[in-house]
């Protein structure tokens, strides 16, 4: 009978820990979501038509691409860059986007809807700086 209070204490501590973790996680998740959302909102939508026609209107600006992750076109080990194909949400046009290791915190899966913040280089390369899974 002496062992009963000991057992309850453990359960309490464990429950409190879980709650604390959830609370912390929820805090960070919320805060990140809130930050990102606010950051993506500042960016303009990717000028798909201009890009496709090769017009250099994208210099020095970040754009947001919303679409579906299709597949990895090429993965380069040394620079940890991955060229991926993203099918745009609106016009259903596949775009090659270069993802660095920093841009992709979590692994992407096919047919996953994502929102990517990108910058377009002079030579037309689309480089993702941030990516969120929607």
């Amino acid at each position: 009978m002496t062992r009963q209070p000991k057992k309850n204490t453990h359960l309490v501590i464990t429950g409190a820990g879980i709650v604390a973790i959830i609370a912390i996680g929820s805090f960070f998740g919320f805060s990140k979501k809130a930050f990102s959302k606010s950051d993506f909102n500042k960016c303009a939508a990717f000028p798909l038509d201009s890009y496709l026609e090769g017009d250099a209107l994208w210099s020095n600006a970040d754009y947001v691409i919303e679409g579906t992750f299709q597949n990895i076109l090429l993965k380069q080990g040394s620079s940890e860059c991955t060229l991926c194909s993203i099918l745009t949400e609106d016009k259903k046009i596949p775009l090659p986007v270069i993802f660095t290791s920093e841009a992709t915190k979590s692994p992407l899966q096919r047919e996953q809807k994502i929102k990517v913040k990108v910058r377009v280089e002079d030579d037309g390369r689309i480089i993702a700086s941030e990516c969120v899974i929607q």
Binding site: L52, L73, I98, R125
Partner: protein, 667 residues
């Protein structure tokens, strides 16, 4: 989707298989080995050289080289065979083989017109009748002997024969010899001796008077006057002139004695005349003359004078005709003529012997005539012609020869002509003519076979044709020198044969055609006309293979490969289109390398396909443009767009992969 990809894969496999077969076929054309049987590539006429298709090229070349090497030996064999046949033809008819050396008598006899023969028949009939009257042993008598001879009757017949051209005055000469019998009995030897004596005496008198006359004209030293006075001198001169006149008269009379003959001289002249007739082969005339001789000098010495017949004359007979011992009165000309005439005659010492010789000759001529007639009946023309030639040389003026019917002579003449034509044809190597004439000869004659001639002609004709065909084969093997040697040999062996000439001409034409073809091939290679190269592969491939030019060969193969690529792409495109994959179909053509993608057929097909896959073409075009301008990501974007229209296009995938690497490298 998977099913569609599977179908495409299967289709590609089928295309690859068919292409592989095509390549194999092409290699067969272009490789050396199939050229082992070039005759099988070209259309082979019946009887042409058929080369074993399993025979190797080297073996065939070796065989052809051997054939060319055999040409020289072949020529020697041909000459040997030709000489043998020439000899045979000469034996068959010497007059045909060497007409230039033929005695003119034979030609005259063979070509004598028929009217002359008819006249000769009558003339010789009369001559035989005259002989029968004189010679009991005449071969022309119906009975073997006659009891009496009738020189008068014979003389009458001979008188009539003087009008005949064939007689040439011989009958008249015989008659003169015979009719001089009466006037020739006088012997003028005594008168000749008297004349000689008188002339001698008168010459002495003349010399005396001449001397006196010369002495009388000299000056006497005592009287200082001439020894004789003018009157005496004048008288001496007159006497001298008178004596000279007398001498002149006697000499004139002596000279006139040369026209007179004595018996020995007449005998000699008669004998010489007989010998001359015998030597001229006028046997009947000679025999008639012998008959008259017996009549003129009956019971006397019948021996032949040495002077009349030096070869067999009697040495004891002396020298007749040297009357009075004056060599000037001896007829020297008949003696030498007799010596000439007796050449070629056997040793005969008497008139009887001469008669026997002449009778034998006449009998021989009769036998020969009968033989020739029999030979003509049995078509033994070679023997008949030979015997006739002998008769012309041994019995030229015999009726047996001269009375040959015109038709019979023409048969011999035709035979001689055939042999001559055969000889000429053999010399000129006119084989068809030899075959034709051989047939004619076999019909004309039974004693001259022409099978060997025909076989020789046929063999050489076939050889020429064979060489022509071999030349064609050798030429296609690339050995132009060998082909030329064979053609030359064929041309030389049968220079007049139309078939051979045509074959040679055809082969030469083919050579020229090949030259033209070579030019065309060069042109095709130069212009890189892969369509022509493929379409005319049947013509060009053997040529390329035989040329042994590796550079040309590889260039030709490149062209063939190009055309095959175009054809394969078109076929593949067509199939993809049928499988509702117009983008893939278009892409298949687009992928052709330059300048194949500008091929007219490719462009046409692409324009047709463009109606079904315009968006794909647009995307691909833009991707290509950006790729070229060094914007790989833009290019990838468009290629990805194009890939949505042609998801199975591996080329696009490869391009994307390649460009992806490029895009990442820049990062």
């Amino acid at each position: 989707m998977l099913m569609r990809q599977l179908k495409i894969k299967l289709f590609f496999k089928a295309i690859s298989y068919s292409l592989a077969s095509g390549v194999t076929i092409c290699r067969l054309y272009s490789a050396d080995v199939p050229m082992a049987n070039p005759a099988s590539v070209i259309a082979t006429p019946p009887g042409s050289v058929v080369v074993n298709s399993f025979e190797s090229v080297e073996m065939e070349k070796l065989r052809m080289t051997k054939e060319i090497g055999k040409l020289e030996r072949e020529e020697a064999e041909f000459k040997e065979g030709s000489i043998k046949l020439q000899k045979k033809l000469i034996d068959a008819s010497a007059s045909a083989a060497t007409p230039a050396n033929l005695p003119s008598d034979y030609s005259s006899f063979i070509n004598a017109p028929s009217k002359n023969v008819n006249r000769s028949v009558y003339y010789y009939g009369q001559l035989q009748e005259a002989l029968n009257q004189l010679t009991p042993a005449s071969p022309y008598l119906a009975r073997t002997t006659i009891d009496t001879v009738s020189p008068v009757r014979a003389g009458e017949i001979l008188k009539q024969m003087g009008n005949f051209e064939e007689d040439e005055g011989i009958s008249r000469t015989i008659l003169n010899q015979w009719s001089a019998k009466e006037g020739s009995v006088r012997d003028d030897a005594a008168r000749m001796a008297q004349l000689n004596n008188d002339i001698s005496q008168l010459e002495k008198e003349r010399d005396r008077l001449q001397w006196n006359y010369n002495q009388g004209g000299k000056i006497n030293p005592l009287t200082e006057r001439p020894f004789a006075n003018d009157k005496d001198q004048s008288s001496l001169l007159e006497q001298t002139e008178r004596v000279k006149d007398q001498i002149s008269e006697l000499v004139k009379e002596k000279g006139s004695f040369r026209n007179f003959v004595n018996t020995p001289l007449r005998k000699l002249e008669f004998q010489q005349f007989i010998v001359q007739l015998a030597a001229q082969e006028r046997y009947i005339h000679a025999l008639i003359a012998c008959g008259f001789y017996r009549n003129v000098f009956p019971g006397g010495d019948m021996s032949l004078s040495e002077k009349a017949y030096p070869g067999g004359g009697s040495a004891n007979n002396g020298a007749p005709g040297n009357a009075g011992g004056n060599s000037g009165a001896t007829p020297a000309t008949p003696t030498s003529a007799g010596a000439t005439a007796s050449q070629g005659l056997p040793v005969i010492s008497t008139i009887t012997g001469m008669e026997s010789f002449l009778l034998n000759r006449i009998r021989d001529a009769k036998t020969d005539r009968e033989s020739v007639e029999n030979m003509l009946k049995s078509k033994q023309l070679s023997a008949a012609e030979s015997l006739l030639r002998k008769m012309v040389t041994t019995a030229k003026y015999q009726p047996e020869l001269q009375t040959f019917a015109y038709e019979e002579r023409q048969v011999v003449q035709e035979y001689t002509k055939t042999i001559r034509q055969l000889t000429e044809a053999l010399n000129s190597k006119d084989w068809p003519e030899i075959e034709k004439l051989s047939d004619k000869l076999e019909q004309e004659s039974t004693d001259v076979g022409a099978q060997d001639l025909k076989a020789f002609a046929k063999e050489n004709r076939q050889k020429s044709l064979l060489w022509t065909r071999m030349a064609e084969v050798v030429m296609r093997g690339g050995d132009m020198q060998g082909a030329e040697s064979l053609l030359d040999a064929a041309r030389k062996r049968s220079p007049t044969d139309a078939q051979v000439s045509e074959a040679v001409s055809n082969t030469q034409d083919k050579t020229l055609t090949d030259e033209k073809l070579k030019e065309q091939l060069d042109q095709v290679l130069k212009s890189a006309d892969y369509v022509q190269a493929f379409e005319r592969m049947g013509e060009f491939a053997p040529l390329v293979a035989s040329a042994k030019d590796e550079k040309q060969k590889s260039a030709y193969e490149v062209l063939i490969d190009k055309e095959k690529s175009v054809k394969a792409a078109l076929e593949k495109s067509s199939s993809l289109q049928q499988m509702s994959a117009p983008s893939d179909a278009w892409m298949e053509l687009e992928l052709l390398p330059d300048p194949l993608n500008k091929d007219k057929r490719v462009l046409e097909r692409k324009s047709v396909l463009a109606t079904d896959c315009g968006q794909f073409i647009s995307s691909y075009g833009k991707g290509k443009k950006y790729e070229a301008s060094g914007k790989p990501t833009l290019a990838i974007t468009w290629y990805l767009q194009a890939l949505t229209n042609a998801p199975s296009c591996t080329m696009l995938k490869d391009k994307i992969k390649s460009l992806s690497g490029e895009a990442l490298r820049k990062n």
